[in-house]
Symmetry: C3
Subunit: 383 residues, 3 copies
């Protein structure tokens, strides 16, 4: 294109592509990338572990997102906006307040290795949460993520990268945020403080693979990323801090997370452990109804192997164990999943099939009450 017009520097450029979305740009003055993606799925759940009778079909648009990002005036001043429209995306499965904004944040790049953000985005919590839902190898994140994740929040973000001479990398992330989750109204004077440290001993992953599941890149040399997050959420008002029903009183919560991911030659191993605590997790209203902070611990492990350049097999085992303080209200849950993914166009267009088994209170036998099977077929499509 450039060879064709000497004036190209003065013209706006349009680019489109299978894996880059649609971009509008003008030199180093302006860039907007426009993308969308959707996840359509059809699945089932059984009512029991020992009978394969379907209790319900889940068929729906799980996610539908529009994304705008780029810079204006100067590549140092960047923006990232993501809107979401499915019922689940809008939080309308569990609440009546539609929340289309997932991300709306501005970044200022002080230098190559240091930038700050102001707005709403994902907290630097457990790795699987920070991995985009477009880069997952199963249809959903783990049950441990569902209960203990830090999710998104609004605040001030700081990201610092420290590269070492031996190619290893240290990353520091710190956030002061509301602690009340996406699009929260002003509630009280309690904020949340989150810090994370990451270490990549063998250098960067290809194509930011430390935040993408599966080794689609077939890393020629072993790569490893380790992360540790601490978060204190003061006067939190929801059962999971940034997520969940409203508590009847505000509570302080502490989260501790460690996670890691390893990739090599088509193999990927990912693991994370999450822990949440609160001194007094149970809140009661005047009618005696109870709502409690989701205290306890959980973990998730996933191992996957690319069968060839297009197909992948993965297994997951995850667990949620509530603390003794709340285990009369909240059951222990274990889940095991087998997943197959056919990558039509990397993570942008892929077809997934999952088969899973879930059991309660650690009692894995098929005949135990509440245990169940789940199957899921999902197509991800995006630009």
């Amino acid at each position: 294109t450039h060879s064709q017009t000497v004036e190209s520097d003065e013209r706006a450029l349009l680019n489109v592509g299978e894996s880059e979305g649609i971009s509008f740009s003008k030199d180093s003055l302006f860039l907007m990338n426009l993308r969308f993606r959707m996840q359509n799925r059809a699945g089932f759940n059984t009512l029991e572990g020992d009978a394969f009778e379907v209790s319900e079909y889940e068929m729906r648009v799980r996610r539908l997102r529009l994304r705008f990002d780029g810079f204006v005036g100067n590549p140092r001043f960047q923006y990232y906006i993501q809107l979401a429209f499915s019922k689940a995306d809008l939080d309308l499965e569990t609440s009546l307040v539609a929340q289309p904004i997932r991300d709306a944040i501005l970044y200022y790049f002080i230098n190559e290795n240091l930038y700050i953000g102001f707005g709403q985005s994902k907290l630097p919590g457990n790795r699987q949460r920070v991995i985009s839902s477009g880069n997952l190898q199963f249809a959903d994140r783990s049950t441990a993520n569902a209960i203990f994740t830090l999710d998104r929040d609004f605040g001030f973000f700081l990201y610092k990268t420290i590269p070492f001479k031996n190619q290893s990398i240290l990353q520091l992330k710190g956030v002061v945020s509301t602690g009340d989750g996406r699009n929260a109204s002003a509630i009280n004077d309690g904020l949340a403080y989150t810090g994370r440290i990451e270490y990549l001993p063998f250098g960067r992953f290809s194509n930011s693979g430390d935040y993408s599941e599966g080794d689609f890149e077939f890393e020629p040399k072993p790569k490893l990323a380790l992360g540790l997050t601490l978060s204190e959420n003061q006067k939190a008002t929801r059962t999971g801090g940034q997520l969940g029903q409203e508590l009847f009183d505000a509570r302080n919560m502490n989260s501790f997370i460690v996670d890691g991911i390893y990739k090599h030659m088509g193999w990927a191993v990912m693991g994370e452990y999450l822990h949440r605590s609160s001194n007094d997790p149970i809140t009661v209203d005047e009618l005696g109804e109870i709502r409690y902070v989701l205290v306890g611990w959980g973990f998730n492990t996933q191992i996957s192997k690319m069968l060839d350049r297009k197909n992948e097999l993965a297994v997951r085992y995850a667990n949620v164990t509530p603390n003794a303080q709340i285990n009369q209200f909240q059951q222990r849950v274990d889940e095991a999943l087998l997943g197959f993914t056919h990558y039509v166009n990397g993570h942008r267009i892929k077809i997934q099939a999952n088969l899973g088994y879930k059991w309660l209170e650690g009692l894995a036998k098929f005949e135990n009450t509440g245990n169940s099977w789940t199957g899921m077929f999902q197509v991800e499509f995006g630009i």
Copy 2:
């Protein structure tokens, strides 16, 4: 454009137009069409049939839609996404759960005459429902459509076209879907099964005119399309299957629909008959409140004539007759409308005026209680 640059194959192309929206493309690798349209209206309803006193003004944005469609990687793999933002579009006239997604579906074209879809879209039900709201000749669809349509659903779609040597065409459409309508959550194990057969004895209509009201194309030879739909909705949970309030218990429902459209030299005649049945349509909750399946039958007929290339006159007569099972709760409704449309830019930009009379229980006299007049001025504007 192409003559100008030999590299055109490698460049992204931008096209805009009065009737094509904005398109971004790159050879056979990428296409995205971006469109929007809105319908602004001002109308009135009277309280009585024999007094032209306005009881209420209806002035609002009836529809406001954004549409993205195209393909990625290969023209066989297409997508179609439509988002909707008006209060009525979001279902917020009748419910509290905002539903911005109207369509979100992927298609795979196996060959020219066979393709499958996975996602949320319109079921192949009555013709007027499947005709886009942007291609209607009255401001609203008929009262029969409102009560008996199959609307949209999420599932697996199959479309098969069989062209015959004499130019006639047979079309087969089959869908397995949730039966619970747009963006439904997982509810139970009941699905909906819909089949439709269409026959076009005199070949294709110009510009897909079998799914557009009015003969804007001035078909030089007579064209006819006939359709028949059968749908069984198992364990449906809403009064109209895919639409309506929640029932207190799930019910099986059966729909039978026949419809046809004829166009020639500016004349268009459209008719449809819809029938819904259910063995036990009435559900009761513990307080004795009643909600019932909308069983019964209805029809709609519309005749229109293009006065010249820009102006059209149309009449409608439609009826809804509830079954005896529910006619203590639901009245028979008849409506007659006169419509004038000025097409500024085909169906994309048009100005419409409707005058209608509605009567209850078959008692058409102006003085009967509940009968009323309605008038509507609407401007449709889109790209």
Copy 3:
């Protein structure tokens, strides 16, 4: 660009820019401008006037908007659509019905000085309301605007400009609208009638500066605009007419507004007075609950000075005084604010800091109950 291709008239053009958004055009046949903007903020409120202890932090995406405007077929036929996605934008701070449509209106330009509109847009009420939230010099509009503004409505709009030989300009604006606010459903037969007259004795402001706060343009000669609005809202159903909770009965309301803005050499002075009246403002439901028309008067004055080409200092004093009819329910409120704005890229990208003090019932002393301080940091970012 044009010099480069003789076929440019037949090609679609793409333009992007720091202050023009993204535009797609084709000669005088088609234009679409695409813009977005967001306002991210972090602030605090104190509980008392004499203790600087924070009672709550307000940290959120206050506004996030997408805008599409342009023309199709002919520059006379224009459209303007604005969608909004933040919780506050969607009215979800105070109601459960999501309202993403802010503007959706069509304009027809009869001639250079006369055009009509049909759709949803801002009524020609108080100046600060009509000024885009992207062109404000404080983070929020005044407390007087919050209570007495006419806001947006759906209806028929007429705009007439009368230029005089001495460069002075008279503008007449008239609207017939529903009176029930954004995306209202059909309620009753009461409409709202709004008329406004504006006079610019010294001619047009640079860059439409009569509807932008602050003299960012450094007007070399003094400019002045004066406005007067009268509005009658018949059978209004909400406490503020187009805004507010639903009343228990419909009421007629009358609004009277005068405002003005003066700019010269970096100085800007703006003032507005708003008055609403209703014969019988109080409505009561069968349980004795009371909701009332917000009758009374308020004013807002702002004075600002550009310190240089990028930085501005501004002060505001505003007041709301309820009528005697309702002053047992509604308190008098006064607010004073100091604001600093750093314009990175005009009003499109700016950083703002506000410090304010609010007092009740005219009792300004810090120790009076209910008085409070507020601080706000806001970044506006848009294209």
